[in-house]
């Protein structure tokens, strides 16, 4: 079993739809949760960054973390064609002295938003 599971999609939605992306994980030691967006032929770009459980909102994006269920979500409101990309969840135990711990990524979900 992989540490982080993510449905690879692809997910196709009409412009303006609400998109829900999800990941589950097995390591209860994870404390830091991230969502990255990756356009074709580009590196991952950090979208959302959450510590422990709870919700975080940034514009059209909302990240949710439920540590009791080992489940994280990213919601995109009013989706746009420019949101078409691969969305990667990532998480880490974090907290090591001297900086950032390694990230464990999901496989990524391909999203296509059509006009």
């Amino acid at each position: 079993q992989k540490e982080v599971e993510q449905d690879p999609g692809p997910l196709s939605v009409p412009e303006g739809a609400i998109v829900s992306l999800n990941c589950t994980y097995s390591n209860s030691a994870f404390q830091y949760f991230m969502w990255y967006r990756q356009y074709s032929r580009k590196g991952p770009e950090l979208l959302m960054y959450t510590y422990s459980s709870g919700n975080k909102e940034d514009g059209r994006f909302t990240a949710q973390v439920d540590k009791s269920s080992k489940y994280i979500s990213l919601f995109i409101r009013d989706s746009q064609p420019s949101d078409s990309a691969t969305y990667l969840c990532a998480m880490s135990v974090g907290g090591v002295s001297g900086g950032y711990n390694k990230l464990i990524f999901g496989a990524g979900t391909r999203l296509a938003v059509h006009p």
Binding site: Q6, M34, G43, Y49, G94, G98, F105, A107
Partner: protein
Amino acid sequence: DAGVTQSPTHLIKTRGQQVTLRCSPKSGHDTVSWYQQALGQGPQFIFQYYEEEERQRGNFPDRFSGHQFPNYSSELNVNALLLGDSALYLCASTLSGQGASSPLHFGNGTRLTVT
């Protein structure tokens, strides 16, 4: 503000050869991590360098080695290339000691093809 830069962008090598990939971290960052992203998969952690030393290592064989220079730039070396080494190699940087407030910033990667 220069982001993470990687060179070259594309590379084609033959099985058994050796390759060196280069990375300059984002301005102000001192910690560099390398990830391997196979097609259709999420990035996998290779190793992390801080103060010119390898601080953490993922599940990769000794054929993968690295180096960090005093200016914080880094190299990834892969010896005895295998077909399975074909992937996008991503460099990411962060500032140590900042913990949760300094997430990883990724470059656009080097696409390595082994024939």
